[in-house]
């Protein structure tokens, strides 16, 4: 329990640090966002708009520390400002919808990839020198070397455009009404296959190699030798003695990698025009929608922190040593 509390404290600190970072970065940059936007969209913004824009972005004439606390309190309340590109919608409302889709896609892909990679790693380490051990790691390393968005393009091209097996964009068929009805659910499932497949293909190699490495180490441990001496059936040794112990370090690595995977997932969304945060991100970049960019940074960071907390909870559940 103490372990979880300590981790929670860390995540709280991390959350505070990211909010602070989001506050500090614009103020470190030469000029301020309003001036930067004016410079880029020369002629499209009236000079009077600059002042209201600055105010909207929190660049008031109050002293910096006051601005900071105002920003913090806004963030705590979920008020991330007003979006420039989607004016007058608030950043929060724009992100909320997208967040659901991102969590759905990435969550699904990541869990599937981790489970598959872990099983493959276990199998390849148990039967070393077999074909799985020889072929899979280099092949999956090669696949993992392709950038997410490139693989997304390839997958979309092959299975979407050429073969027509799966839909080409969006999260569901636009003509359907969202809700807990069967046609909608089927459509959602169809639309998530290709993007999720992309993320799985890029990441599964990493999990496999990592599990393979920990399994090899665990197999050299004394308690595995003892288990063999006891004459236990092979399956019991594989799962209860080897896999359960080898899984623990991998779980920690899983949490660490989530931020990285999320970044790649965002790029994948862009290719598939999947209405998640990746899609919002590219639009925000194109229109220099600073409040939205910052809001996305905060929500993606918080998502990763939350997911890590879940992973830590799983760790506590699986490892009796953390329970004290």
């Amino acid at each position: 329990m103490r372990f979880l509390l300590r981790r929670f404290g860390f995540y709280l600190t991390a959350a505070w640090a990211s909010v602070t970072l989001a506050f500090v970065i614009p103020r470190l940059m030469p000029g301020d966002p309003a001036t930067a936007m004016f410079a880029r969209f020369r002629g499209r913004l009236k000079p009077q708009a600059l002042d209201s824009l600055r105010a909207a972005l929190g660049f008031t004439h109050a002293p910096v520390w006051k601005q900071y606390f105002q920003y913090l309190s806004h963030a705590l309340r979920g008020d991330l400002g007003v979006s420039i590109g989607y004016y007058p919608a608030t950043v929060g409302s724009v992100i909320a919808q997208a967040l659901v889709w991102t969590l759905f896609l990435t969550g699904l892909a990541v869990v599937f990839s981790f489970v598959l990679g872990t099983l493959l790693g276990l199998a390849s380490a148990w039967k070393r020198g077999g074909w799985l051990d020889g072929v899979a790691p280099p092949l999956l390393t090669l696949l993992g070397a392709f950038p997410y968005f490139w693989l997304a393009m390839a997958v979309l091209f092959l299975f979407g455009f050429q073969l027509g097996w799966f839909p080409l964009r969006h999260a569901y068929d636009d003509q359907l009404t969202p809700g807990l009805n069967l046609p909608f659910l089927i459509s959602v499932s169809q639309h998530v296959v290709l993007p999720a497949l992309t993320v799985v293909v890029v990441t599964v190699g990493g999990w496999m190699l990592s599990m393979r490495s920990t399994v090899i180490n665990v197999m050299a441990e004394d308690y595995v030798l003892f288990a063999h001496a006891k004459g236990l059936p092979e399956m019991r040794i594989v799962f209860h003695y080897v896999a359960r112990n080898a899984l623990l370090p991998n779980l920690a690595g899983f949490g660490m990698a989530l931020g990285f995977v999320l970044s790649g997932s965002l790029l994948t969304e862009i290719i598939f025009s999947y209405p998640g945060q990746g899609y919002l991100l590219i639009r925000a970049v194109k229109s220099l929608d600073y409040p939205l960019i910052q809001g996305l940074f905060l929500t993606t960071t918080f998502s990763v922190l939350g997911a890590n907390l879940l992973v830590d909870a799983a760790h506590v559940w699986l490892d009796p040593r953390t329970r004290g």
């Binding site: 640090a17 392709f146 950038p147």
Partner: protein, 302 residues
């Protein structure tokens, strides 16, 4: 070094890298101006243009070759800077311990956890687009990974006998770090550098694809940016993005193979196992099988 050249994985990786290195160096001379309009846009591969043409009528092969230098150069520079900063922070944390370590570890973990892409975008949005900006944001988001790994190694080296002795003698921390600790981490620094370069190339391409690079320049990332912008997919023009993607993957794969080979070399158990498999005449290694009884081996080997 010699052992590396004997390792099959390393050879494959080095060979691939060598090819790309050559292309990077002499490419732009051979190709000339890759950006010039040469033929009908979106023409499929043909004898005249081996990789076809882009949506703006440029030769894809030329574009790919021309992009090699910028992409690899930036990747290597970012990789180096990332490891350099990671080494400084990691060694400081591991060596000094105490509050310094606690604080630095907190910062390291923070940067490890935060998703890189949104952070890159937040910073880069305020800066002019181009390679320098990309390099900067990549270093800011990427240093933490090598810092963590180097910190762990520095921590264990700190406990070692010869470092403790140096501390007792009264050598200055800087000398100890430079003369005792860093030299013993060479293999770790090399593998970190390779890993960081892999990350840098991938991330750089990603940011350029989003349009944050200098879209006028010819790099692998901007090639893909234009391919996507020029509706490569709906028009079925696969040749506009496949060669670039394949190049990126091959370089990443080659670097990963070299890293794998380096790992294998530092783990002698794997080599011993190969010999055992040969001696027992089995096709694979079953660690959990009972100890084999080989009466013939003894006779044959004698």
């Amino acid at each position: 070094m010699k052992a590396l050249l004997e390792n099959r994985k390393a050879l494959v990786g080095l060979a691939i890298l060598a090819v790309f290195a050559v292309i990077a160096v002499i490419g732009p001379w051979i190709v000339g101006d890759a950006g010039e309009f040469v033929a009908v846009p979106l023409a499929p591969p043909s004898l005249a243009h081996w990789f076809g043409t882009t949506g703006q009528g440029q030769d894809v092969l030329a574009q790919t070759i021309a992009g090699t230098r910028s992409t690899l150069l930036l990747g290597v520079i970012v990789g180096f800077l990332t490891v350099a900063i990671g080494a400084i922070v990691g060694t400081a944390a591991g060596y000094f311990g105490g509050w310094t370590d606690e604080l630095l570890t907190l910062v390291i973990n923070l940067f490890l956890l935060m998703p890189g892409l949104p952070l890159c975008v937040v910073i880069a949005a305020y800066l002019p687009s181009g390679s320098a900006t990309i390099g900067l944001v990549l270093v800011v988001t990427g240093w933490a990974w090598s810092a963590r790994v180097i910190r762990a190694q520095a921590l264990s080296l700190r406990q070692s006998v010869f470092v403790s002795a140096a501390v007792v003698i009264g050598e200055s921390p800087l000398r100890i770090v430079l003369l005792e600790i860093l030299p013993n981490m060479t293999s770790l620094l090399v593998t970190s550098f390779i890993g960081a370069t892999i990350y840098a190339i991938g991330a750089e391409v990603g940011l350029e694809f989003l349009g944050m690079g200098n879209i006028g320049a010819v790099t692998w990332g901007t090639n893909l940016y234009w391919a996507s912008n020029d509706v490569a997919l709906p028009s079925g023009s696969w040749w506009t993005f496949v060669p670039t993607g394949a190049s990126i993957a091959l370089v990443g794969f080659a670097l990963a193979m070299i890293n794998n080979a380096l790992d294998e070399l530092s783990n002698p158990r794997l080599g011993a196992e190969r010999a055992f498999v040969r001696a027992t005449g089995r096709k694979r290694l079953e660690i959990h099988a009972p100890t084999p009884v080989l009466r013939t081996v003894a006779n044959v080997r004698r």
